[in-house]
């Protein structure tokens, strides 16, 4: 069964934007990520909790942007607009090229407006600025406002498959392009911190008491973060090619069919998604220059992903875990990693996995622990979620599959 057929031609990423604990502006996030800066803070930077953990908080001043949001001024809306604003000129240019109704908008989130509902029903400072409407709880609560702001007046959809959401949204976007229902698609994602997820992951024993250490021998869980990421995906054309930051080469996805929160112990679903993405990219494992792993930092998840990576790539391909920089931003984590992968292609550098020393030798992985230069053309990005929902994207510097080049 195929999820999406990534047939040639590939589609171009012509703009990206990202905001998270590393910064509220794309250039700040990228600069700090590639410098390997730690941006986590004790959890009381966000809320009081009866347990120890750290969080990645987006540095935005609540109340400073309310008048410009064109929707309820929730934290979710602030996160979404923090990135979306950075895409404005590029989307308007795409709308000029293709027509605004040929520019679709696909949004993804795991928890949507849950944080807004929490503020109203479990009091939390500051006092919410707007009266409660359950429509603001929904994943798509910001979609109409953001799409209007950007001038993307085409098809609008919202995807929510937990922590794989934003890579699944790329698959939805690809289908719209493949079937000529759009010429350009804005794919966006945002997820806030929330007390439900902090308490929930703590209850599952998956929350790290101190900053997360993906792939480390003594890794001890995940660190939650919040953020947003946006990309503009466009059909090939002379102008698109001129503007391309990289190309979406292929996607793969699968279901574990095993457990609601634990990955299949053999990583079968993860492996299936990665192999599909490679096949549809027209690439062999040896063509991949590095992997941006899901790498949550929990003992089981990293072990399972490591085993699947080992079966496909052996021990040589460099692997990095960017959640050590951004925290686990849930449904937004996949698209955040795609944006970082595109920046890697531009810089020809792989961002480091922080705090991975000493690496767990049982994983058999070549974990990138310091900023690593290299000749980079193809990057594989993983995102796995609750429900055993697995998704993989391959991002390439080249507009064509190898046999077409």
């Amino acid at each position: 069964v195929t999820d999406v057929i990534a047939r040639p031609p590939r589609y171009a990423f012509t703009a990206t934007a990202v905001a998270n604990c590393l910064g509220a502006r794309t250039e700040t996030v990228l600069a700090r990520a590639f410098r390997g800066e730690n941006a986590f803070r004790p959890a009381n930077a966000y809320c009081d909790l009866p347990f120890e953990t750290e969080v990645g908080v987006l540095p935005i001043d609540e109340g400073s942007q309310g008048e410009a949001l064109d929707c309820a001024p929730t934290r979710m809306a602030r996160l979404a607009f923090a990135s979306a604003r950075g895409l404005g000129d590029a989307v308007r240019a795409a709308a000029d090229r293709w027509g605004p109704r040929r520019v679709a908008y696909v949004f993804a989130s795991s928890i949507g407006g849950l944080e807004h509902t929490e503020r109203h029903f479990a009091p939390f400072p500051p006092v919410p600025e707007s009266p409660y409407a359950y429509a603001d709880h929904a994943v798509d609560a910001t979609s109409a406002a953001v799409a209007r702001h950007l001038g993307a007046l085409g098809i609008r959809m919202a995807v929510s498959t937990a922590c794989s959401s934003s890579i699944k949204a790329l698959a939805t976007a690809l289908r719209l392009l493949d079937h000529d229902l759009a010429d350009a698609v804005v794919v966006g994602s945002a997820d806030t911190l929330s007390r439900t997820t902090l308490f929930g992951f703590h209850g599952l024993g998956l929350l790290a008491p101190t900053a997360t250490r993906p792939f480390a021998l003594d890794r001890h869980g995940l660190t939650l973060g919040e953020g947003s990421a946006y990309v503009l995906l466009e059909r090939q054309g002379a102008e698109t090619t001129r503007r391309a930051l990289g190309w979406l080469a292929g996607l793969g996805s699968s279901s574990d069919a095993y457990h609601q929160t634990s990955p299949h112990p053999d990583g079968i679903g993860a492996e299936l998604a990665m192999r599909q993405a490679l096949e549809r990219s027209g690439l062999e494992p040896g063509d991949v220059d590095f992997v941006c792993a899901h790498a949550t930092g929990t003992r089981q998840n990293d072990a399972v992903e490591g085993a699947a990576l080992g079966r496909i790539f052996g021990a040589k391909v460099p692997v990095t875990g960017t959640k050590s920089l951004t925290g686990h931003t849930l449904g937004t984590s996949g698209l955040t990693a795609v944006v970082l992968a595109l920046e890697s292609l531009r810089r020809q550098e792989i961002p480091a996995t922080l705090r991975a020393d000493p690496v767990d030798p049982d994983l058999g992985l070549s974990v990138v622990r310091t900023l690593a230069p290299g000749a980079l053309a193809n990057v594989l990005v993983n995102a796995f979620g609750f429900g055993g929902n697995n998704a993989t994207a391959v991002v390439s510097a080249h507009p064509h599959r190898p046999e077409q080049a």
């Binding site: 195929t2 999820d3 029903f121 359950y134 007046l153 995807v159 929930g200």
Partner: protein, 250 residues
């Protein structure tokens, strides 16, 4: 006005409503005593802690064995909103949350449990939001055109808790369909005006009311009569319509 057509075959359909015994009864307004889904596809521990919306999805999916091995698209306007409300109460009142409820708080909970119950490793996507029904149909039709096997489309919603301001409405409703790519038969039509501004169908409105629409869909598919049903907005000023031919006419 521009139009785009996608041909699909609808192989099977199922319907469940807590307050109506059938799609026909729902359309006729013939209520029954609240009847919970049996969701027999789930057994043992996987049944525990499931929400109404998950039970509804599993009920209608379980009635369609034709979907075995299919890729799937789940659609829900509000997702696990009762579970979310419950979890907020738990940490507010008790300083902790139930791990079991948290594990089932994501929108794709039904998709994950369905995959487990049917041992189906095929891809699954969950669409949500105010236009989830229309978006789910569009997504499923596109997946069907890419896939070599059938696609399962499952749509369900549970009532929004009254504490969150949810409107008074029937208990819960779900429908599922097995779709295949086709060159003729049913057609999904995207019809869009050229205005494209705010207003009708801009997605700022209330979530689609599921009961009547899902009942009309299932009733029309099973009756085999020609019909044109508006599924909802998929773009500003544009709608997605399902055109069903009279059975045997295609």
């Amino acid at each position: 006005m521009t139009k785009r057509d996608l041909a699909i075959e609808i192989e099977a359909a199922s319907f469940f409503a807590t307050d109506y015994a059938s799609a026909g009864d729902a359309l006729a307004g013939v209520e029954r005593t609240f009847t919970a889904p049996r969701f027999t596809l789930l057994v043992g521990r996987t049944r525990r802690f499931t929400s109404l919306v998950t039970q509804l999805h599993i009920e209608v999916c379980g009635a369609l064995p034709q979907a075995n091995g299919a890729a799937s698209v789940f659609a829900t306007c509000q997702g696990e909103i009762q579970t979310a409300h419950r979890l907020i109460g738990e940490f507010r009142d008790a300083g902790q949350v139930s791990s079991a409820h948290f594990a089932q708080s994501v929108h794709n909970t039904p998709s994950g449990l369905y995959a487990m119950a049917t041992r189906n490793t095929a891809p699954s996507t969950t669409l949500t939001g105010a236009n989830a029904i229309a978006a789910g149909w569009l997504e499923a039709a596109l997946v069907a055109r890419d896939a070599e096997r059938p696609v399962l489309l499952s749509i369900a919603d549970e009532p929004v808790p009254s504490a969150l301001g949810g409107p008074p409405e029937p208990g819960g409703v779900a429908a599922a369909f097995v779709l295949r790519s086709a060159n003729a038969g049913a057609r999904l039509t995207i019809e869009s005006g050229e205005g494209g501004g705010a207003g009708d169908g801009d997605g700022d409105g209330e979530p689609q009311r599921s009961l009547e629409l899902l009942a009309r869909l299932v009733h029309a598919v099973t009756a085999g009569a020609a019909a044109a049903i508006t599924l909802g907005s998929v773009l500003p000023g544009g709608v997605l319509r399902l055109h069903l031919p009279q059975r045997g006419a295609s």
